[in-house]
Symmetry: C2
Subunit: 726 residues, 2 copies
């Protein structure tokens, strides 16, 4: 790619970005759109326009993002969002500090050499190198003393990374500690999760067993236990009721509306009772729903009783009357046979994955082994099913399967386009479904909380994306053949990467630029959610509830967002010295990213749970992993350049591992468990243990009539006494 085409592509992206930002400024000022652009403050009960001035200023959102403090971010979107911003600013810091030294130092060093020119003269062909390539390390001659500058550059980048990562880890650790020791009591700080409860002896219910066990071992601090039950059936009934309730509200709204237009008595909405409302007898919707709800509530109550009594499973949440006791209990092994009574910190109530809690240890391990194998196969061989499906989804096959398409498909223009793009479409569909698939796999491992599942899925996605996009593009040809080569000759890995990297510098430059301009433009302008919201509002929504659902912004989506950013980290670090021009692009990516993300977490996204920055150690480790990939690549590159001092560079690799070990020693454990120092800090008030306990009652077990804990509790006790009376 030569300079002009690069500039064209860059300019196009930039124009798109500007257009999208202007659109955003214009659209976000309209009050009708406020629920799309300010859902976060609205859902917190704030008026997004209380300060009118800011919506007048076209760059007001930028100023606001800069002005907002970390505490504001935490108030709006929680610690996880703040940690994500720390992640972005950390990488930004690394790139800015690296660039400040590398750009003025390395560009002239590379630009004034002429390896490419010489190579060109030798090959006698036309000058097929661009100006951009002249500014990269490829233009430095082999064995040149100029390579010292590049080697020192690698040291500089590494040292900057170590330093900034250390500061960030410390900062995040403090954020987490502050959140964990906040004077506001949070339910998850008072509970632990107990799994693999031994099967009950015949004369005792599981609940009794758990109670007596903890009462004996934690006599002073045990408050109460909640045995996990199988919620499958009761949940189904509950969801049915909720569905009918929505239908009822909708029908009532439609009925009320029909009264205002023309017919003063209104037209009672009707529905069919059969499949999908398409078949079956026609009934009055309001009456039907009311009947159904009444009927189901009786069924629900019966099922709730059965669930609490007879569907107790071998896991429990155990509550303690103070935070320090819970923190300590979650870290102390209970049983002599340590595969029973396994304790861990309780997940946040909103994040609990109930069906996974009672999964047994060995089942979890078997599932984990299977999932890891599947992920490995997906990462390495993902092209195989796609090739298979592509081969299957030819036009001929499509016509056979769906003859009605024939007419459309047979048109020559459409045919050409389809034939050209069908494989790509399959690939895009696969890639779009991948995060959901990885999330499904992660949940199948038996992970007890959503936030943990997100971390696991993000890890899997990171491997996929780094292996397939970064290594896949870099080492042209299929990854599989390269892998085979690496397995046979592990030493080749170093030079393999090093020889392939420089050729792709411009490609990745464009890739990064496209990603931030178009990606962030779309993110900021929220065009898709805006259109969907307005369509839904116009044609589907009748009740307030339905409108609220239509604009619900969801959360930040760490599972895909973080791995995508990590890909850019890997790319930019690896090219930072080879083609230093990529650094400003990386800096813009993370700078702009930080700005947009800060705007979005302050105004848009609503977190669905809080893990208090538990994701940071993963981010930290992966940035370090990217750094090590970079160092290995550079060693290989120096070897190719026949630089005799390359071994000096090698030293950095063990240093990085030692650094990783030290940060792990110093910080990691306090993310995996709560330090007593943190848990023991004083609370504002005596915690309301009833409320803490109630926070964990699953909605489908809450009684419909009055949302009363006593009833739930009675039922659990009743279950106990009933079972004991046998």
């Amino acid at each position: 790619m030569d300079l002009t085409s690069f500039i064209t592509s860059f300019t196009t992206s930039f124009v798109i970005f500007i257009v999208l930002v202007l659109l955003f400024t214009w659209l976000s000022r309209k009050p009708a759109n406020s629920v799309v652009y300010y859902p976060n403050p609205i859902s917190r009960g704030l008026d997004p326009f209380e300060n009118r001035k800011r919506s007048m200023n076209p760059v007001g959102w930028i100023r606001e993002a800069f002005v907002a403090s970390e505490a504001d971010v935490i108030a709006a979107s929680g610690v996880d969002a703040a940690v994500y911003l720390v992640f972005l600013s950390t990488v930004l810091g690394i790139l800015v500090f690296s660039g400040v030294l590398l750009l003025p130092a390395l560009l002239p060093v590379a630009g004034t050499d002429d390896a490419l020119k010489l190579a060109n003269q030798n090959s006698k062909t036309a000058g097929n190198y661009s100006e951009l390539e002249k500014l990269a390390m490829g233009n430095v001659q082999a064995k040149s003393t100029r390579l010292w500058a590049f080697m020192l550059g690698v040291y500089w980048v590494s040292i900057v990374t170590y330093y900034i990562l250390w500061r960030s880890y410390k900062h995040v650790s403090n954020l987490r500690a502050t959140a964990k020791s906040s004077p506001e009591p949070k339910p998850e700080d008072f509970a632990i999760l107990v799994r693999d409860v031994p099967s009950r002896p015949s004369d005792q219910s599981l609940k009794d067993r758990v109670d007596s066990y903890f009462r004996r071992l934690h006599p002073d601090t045990f408050y109460r236990s909640m045995v996990v039950t199988n919620l499958k059936k009761v949940n189904k009934i509950y969801n049915n009721i909720e569905g009918y309730k929505k239908k009822l509200a909708h029908a009532e709204a439609v009925f009320a509306e029909s009264k205002t237009t023309g017919n003063p008595e209104g037209a009672r909405p009707t529905m069919r009772t059969g499949l999908l409302g398409l078949v079956g007898s026609k009934v009055d919707t309001i009456n039907h729903c009311n009947e159904k709800i009444k009927e189901l509530i009786l069924k629900l109550e019966a099922e709730q009783k059965i669930t609490l009594q007879d569907k107790q499973e071998r896991a429990a949440l155990v509550f303690f009357n103070n935070r320090a006791a819970a923190a300590s209990a979650a870290q102390t092994i209970l049983a002599q046979m340590v595969d029973t009574w396994m304790v861990s910190e309780a997940p946040e109530p909103r994040a609990v994955i109930w069906p996974n809690l009672s999964m047994r240890l060995y089942m979890r391990q078997i599932r984990q082994a299977i999932v890891y194998t599947l992920v490995f196969l997906t990462v390495v061989f993902y092209m195989i099913p796609i090739a298979f499906i592509s081969a299957f989804t030819t036009l001929d096959n499509l016509e056979k399967l769906a003859p009605f398409l024939k007419k459309v498909v047979e048109q020559p223009e459409i045919k050409t386009v389809l034939e050209a793009y069908l494989p790509q479409i399959v690939l895009i569909v696969f890639l779009a479904l991948l995060p959901a698939f990885l999330m499904f796999l992660s949940k199948s491992e038996g992970i007890p909380s959503e936030s943990h599942a997100v971390r696991a899925a993000a890890g899997k996605y990171f491997y996929f994306i780094v292996f397939n996009v970064f290594l896949g593009v870099t080492i042209s040809g299929t990854l599989w053949s390269s892998l085979k080569r690496i397995i046979n000759h592990p030493g080749d890995l170093i030079t393999l990467l090093a020889t392939s990297l420089p050729g792709n510098a411009t490609f990745f430059l464009t890739f990064v630029a496209l990603k931030f301009f178009v990606g962030y433009g779309l993110e900021l302008s929220r065009l898709v959610p805006l259109i969907i919201f307005h369509l839904k509002k116009k044609f589907l929504c009748k009740t307030e509830e339905e409108i609220k659902e239509a604009w619900a912004p969801g959360d930040l989506g760490f599972a895909t967002r973080v791995p995508s950013d990590m890909l850019i980290v890997t790319i930019v670090l690896c090219y930072s010295v080879i083609a230093p021009l990529i650094i400003p692009f990386g800096a813009i990516y993370f700078g702009l990213g930080w700005l947009v993300a800060k705007n979005q977490v302050l105004r848009v996204y609503v977190p669905s749970y809080e893990s208090n920055g538990r994701m940071w150690p993963h981010m930290h480790t992966r940035i370090l992993a990217a750094l090590i990939i970079y160092q290995i690549t550079m060693v290989g590159f120096m070897i190719i350049k026949k630089f005799v001092y390359a071994p000096f560079l090698f030293l950095l690799i063990p240093i990085s591992f030692v650094y990783a070990a030290i940060t792990k020693n110093r910080f990691y454990k306090s993310f995996a468990a709560t330090p007593l120092e943190v848990a023991a800090r004083e609370l504002k008030e005596v915690p309301n243990m009833e409320a803490i306990y109630a926070a964990y009652i699953p909605p489908c077990l809450k009684t419909e009539k009055l949302e009363d804990v006593e009833l739930f509790e009675d039922a659990q006790s009743h279950a106990t006494s009933r079972t004991t009376s046998f």
Copy 2:
């Protein structure tokens, strides 16, 4: 080696064994030797001859060993000794169960085939295979269906091992839990070790800091802390005092004796004050010692004060007022920066390695890395320094260095012997010093307790012995060249072992027989300690104290004993199917070993500390490792025998790893930490916290006049107040 020479060697060993056992029976009956043969009951204040009958019966000790229950063993020598016996009986059980099926099944299958005969006919040389070799797997023809029997044999041995190991692990886990939850309070159950205490702020002493920290985090259960101090100087003075005290007692005894013989006034013993008592002015020993002791006690008291005040180091023992609190505290991280305030279970008072306690985390990790490297080099390259030293210690060099030896060395007979044996002598000296060297290395790692250091040293010795003796003998030629081959072609490992094993079967058969007959004979008869004791008693000892020291039996010496046994386990397992005849020898080794060890732990050895079977997981893992080596070898062997069903055998290897993971999941953690279930069991009485605290005061810090805790405590408090007043 043919059958007759094997039988000769075997018979000789057996005769030696019988002679030694008879010697033992005869010598142990003499009351004068009772302190050599019964030191354990004597040191526990029991009369070894209270039941006279047993010393009359020549096989009385065997009956007694069989009759004694596990509880007797624990009472006499603690849980560690009982666990060692469990280890021996576990291996015995594995071998007996394996042998019961393998011997009658495999010997005929091998004996009736004739691969060796055929091979012999082909090579046209005289029949150079022995009857023994005919009974081994080498006599089965390639591709023969008879190999099925051997393959099933491997399965049988593996299943027997899994089953018996599982039972033993469970049994040991119960032993440990019983000991840990015994109603007798033990000091180590109430204490935790805190390392990496952050450096003190200027206005607080470390002691105050530790106290206030724990008082805040464990307000209800914290009892008191003991800050570790640098004992180097005070210990030196204390040892000096002890030395003079001994000298004084000795001199007084000599003086008293001199009064009874001839001169009624007696001759006051004299000594020289200079180096080693060889130079310097002659003084009256009794007066001199008394003066010195008086002087040193003053110095000691001053130094004790200084130590307690100014030599506090960044580690502490923290005491809790109940066992469950201590168990829980040892497992709960305290600080947000988890490389500070690191907690672990406290070592037993007798086993504490004081200088290691205050070693910082990163120092420990650096040292560990260095030690592991050194051990790796020692295991792989140990021949190099020996070759070097051997080359250096030629006779010529020896004569140059020590000219006075010339006359002796120049005599032709001596010269021949020396020239032949000098390299071997160097090797023997090296091997004799090796355990001490490995122990030194283990202690250098910063391990806080003797028992842990013993485990670490045993591990290192195990690697050395398995690599060098087992692999070294098996794969003839130097290990290093084989290693190089393995590194280049990892796949060769399997066939390398498999091709080399069968040839050495008879060598190892003899090796095992020699080990048990001569080794156990010497062990039982205690000839060496007996002679040393009588010599010392006759010529050196004057006081009761000195005599007691002369017969002090020491402990079992797990650091070398267990690895030696493990070598036999590895050998016997590996040959169990290849040459099933080794099984009875192995069974005798462990059966006899169990008998002798039981006798020794009941009557002889006095444990110097108690780790409550903490060594078992290591034993378990190493038996499993031996099993896996065996399975890999057998896969290789089957491949060599061109048995097409060999892959079925391969299945066993992952099964072993899964088994290892399951046992670890189920049992291991309760060895690494105390489960709350165990620690929370009730005590017989309210523990005497003063005594528990006092148990940890190092002897050199106990005041000389009255052994009073108050003084020590006062001094520590004084230190506190003094420092705070600055």
